[in-house]
Amino acid sequence: MSRSLLSITELGAEGVQRILDLADTMAEVNRRPNPKVPALRGKTVCSVFFEDSTRTRLSFETAAKRLSADTMTFAVSQSSLNKGESLRDTIETIAAMGVDAFVIRHKSTGAPWLVDDWTTAAVVNAGDGWHAHPTQGLLDAYTVRTALNRPGGFDGMRVAIVGDIKHSRVARSTTAAFKALGADVTWVAPRTLLPPTVHEHCVDDLDAVLADGVDVLYMLRMQNERMTEALVPNLREYTTRFGLTPARAARLAPQTLVMHPGPINRGVEIAVDLAELPGAVITQQVTNGIAIRMAVLFDCLAANQDPTSDLERPELS
């Protein structure tokens, strides 16, 4: 029996709220001089990253260590996958060493679901293809919740997510997390950077959205590594129409939160000095990422029933 975190949809609105509440406790741990608790002693968390990552991998590792879990990192480039071992055999081999949770990132949509079928360990999706990146969605929601002091939910909040929606798992998970809390989400993108079927409210005029007023302006990264077709004429034109330029920054209300999942392409989606954006919470997103991942790992692993233990315990006072 393990509890996994694969997508915001599967977590549900109640689960989102549960993780965000738990993150408050974890954030308090992180504020202490000694930010470490023994909660996950004896548990092992293994990160398996098939795609490049700095912040997500480090964030998960830090989170696991602050909960006293042991961590293993599976370096794909130095592994037997290069000798032709299948993903399934690799996962089963690692699982046999006694892993309690896998944190997995893969370029193919759905890979974490496969891994979840193959192992009894908990599986945390750290990004699969263009599909989902649930911990990013949760940390974005948590950042808004703390910055705007909205612990009860986001009813009536207006969120604009701007940029390359098509290739963005962040856009999908963050949209799902915001909507689970009751926010109104608008996608702002050129037609070519939208997925073929869209269920969200979409526009292609950033200035009109800003004129209407937004509470949260979420700038996505232009994912040059996923751009295999000519979807925008050039980056200069993209910045002119969809970038946060000094002119647009000047029109933002000072309390508007400006968010970005990182890493930023400076001069492309954000073409203004971050110091000039009073509402920028981009570093808070990174800091909150640790608290959220602690909450997620604790939620997945503390709910785990240890199969070797069927001790009857009294309800403890």
Binding site: L22, T25, R32, N34, K36, V37, L40, N304, P314, S317
Partner: protein, 167 residues
């Protein structure tokens, strides 16, 4: 299961007043004394003791601690933090009176002691509980007790300012 009221609201109020006096007496005043309630059941009692102590002598700092992340039964049963710890003062060198509503196996107190250690090194830690229901599983004893209450293992003890009920 039947409910049995063992303490009335007045009993709880009187016990609180007596414990407040005992805390002041034991510590020969309130120098360095702080109250920390264990989330969630100990928090209201820490507040109540704090008001009584303030009425009798002087006010002391009051905090709360959530010990869920230090429990020894994580993974054996669903454990989830109920609230965020709030300790807005320096615990180094202080005399902490740890407050909980019910003392049972002692495991919650053990977890809370470990948690306190991560905030600093108090000079001493004392334990105040409204009800000591027995069945200890660890060498832990209370310093201030509202009521010793013999119970059986499967009974449920609920303590609020509205009294103590066994069911």
């Amino acid at each position: 299961m039947s409910e049995k009221r063992v303490l009335t609201p007045d009993d709880v109020r009187r016990a609180t007043t007596r414990m407040a006096h005992e805390i002041i007496e034991r510590n020969q005043g309130l120098d360095g004394v702080v109250l920390i309630g264990i989330q969630t059941g100990g928090v209201w009692l820490a507040d109540a003791l704090g008001s009584e102590i303030a009425r009798i002598e002087a006010s002391v700092p009051i905090g709360s601690i959530d010990a869920s992340l230090y429990r020894d039964d994580i993974g054996l049963r669903p454990v989830s933090p109920a609230a965020v710890s709030e300790i807005g003062f320096d615990v180094d060198g202080s005399t902490i009176v740890l407050v909980d509503d019910v003392l049972f196996t002692g495991r919650t107190v053990r977890a809370a002691l470990d948690a306190l250690g991560d905030y600093g090194r108090p000079r001493a830690v004392q334990l105040a509980v409204m009800v000591d229901r027995g069945h200890r599983e660890l060498p832990i004893r209370p310093d201030f007790v509202g009521k010793n209450l013999p119970t059986s293992n499967d009974e449920d003890v609920s303590v609020t300012s509205d009294g103590v009920v066994i069911s």
